[in-house]
């Protein structure tokens, strides 16, 4: 058995004591993945897992290194990029990826991606056609 294989066994045995916590955060992440286009907040997410808001926030951050809100934003930006590449209009993309207003969407998108949504779409289409 290699050093790495022994380490995996050691770390897994530590994880097992927290099986319920792990199930709760994985469940939350799956819920965000399939409902990113809905209005989501910590209150709703914690009610689904029958836990308190702050407990869920702490757990999610502990296991994923991000807060649920940060994770949700990443997911929405990733989806927005896909929609724009598929040719959806900027406003449609905004609502389809769960953002509330086109202006806040454009500002956030530009800040994260480095390009405005329309510019991103132009470049993606150009790359495809070349």
């Amino acid at each position: 058995m290699t050093f790495y294989q022994r380490e995996i066994i050691r770390i897994r045995s530590i994880c097992y004591s927290n099986k319920r916590q792990i199930e709760a955060v994985i469940g939350t992440r799956n819920y965000i993945n399939s409902n990113f286009d809905q209005e989501l907040n910590l209150g709703l997410l914690s009610r689904i897992r029958f836990t308190s808001k702050f407990h869920l926030l702490r757990l999610f951050k502990k296991y994923y290194g991000l807060t649920p809100k940060q994770y949700l934003t990443d997911k929405r930006i990733e989806k927005a990029k896909e929609f724009l590449k598929e040719g959806l209009a900027v406003t449609e993309t905004c609502f389809a990826s769960g953002f509330e207003t086109p202006s806040s969407f454009s500002t956030l998108f530009k800040c994260r991606v480095g390009l405005a949504p329309s510019e991103f779409q132009k470049r993606a289409t150009f790359t495809k056609s070349v």
Binding site: T2, F3, Y4, Q5, I8, I11, R12, C15, I22, V25, I26, R29, Y63, Y64, T127
Partner: protein, 131 residues
């Protein structure tokens, strides 16, 4: 600053190119001859062709400590480099069918599932799926 390239040390660049494109499914991106036996040779993910490139770095041939370090990691089973996949199980089955050898079979660890295979160029590579 931006992340554009990550390096994977390999003894044989051509062999690495074959393995990473034919088995793993990467695409060749940049291929520039540098000297008689070295190229600036990179591949990218098919799904993310503008994403970071993997550079096949021939350091084990030119710098003895690199070779020693690579071998020590390999013998300890440690994957220095990892790639993300949508499903570890599907990739595992696909690669096993192509004759790729795994030292760690699909294993759940907290919020990820991992597996580790031999890239035939001296490295353990880990694939990761977020759960």
């Amino acid at each position: 600053m931006k992340v554009k390239v990550i390096s994977v040390p390999v003894g044989d660049q051509e062999k690495a190119l074959q393995f990473y494109t034919r088995k793993l499914g990467f695409l060749k991106k940049v291929d520039v001859p540098i000297s008689k036996d070295s190229r600036w040779l990179t591949v990218v993910s098919k799904e993310e062709q503008d994403g970071p490139e993997v550079l096949f770095e021939p350091s084990p041939n030119h710098f003895e400590p690199a070779k020693t370090y690579q071998k020590a990691l390999f013998d300890a089973g440690i994957p220095y480099t990892q790639f993300n996949v949508d499903s570890v199980m599907q990739e595992y089955e696909r690669l096993v069918n192509l004759g790729v050898e795994f030292s760690v079979r699909p294993t759940e660890m907290r919020t990820v599932k991992i597996a580790v295979f031999d890239d035939t160029c001296g490295n353990n590579i880990q694939i990761v799926e977020m759960l």
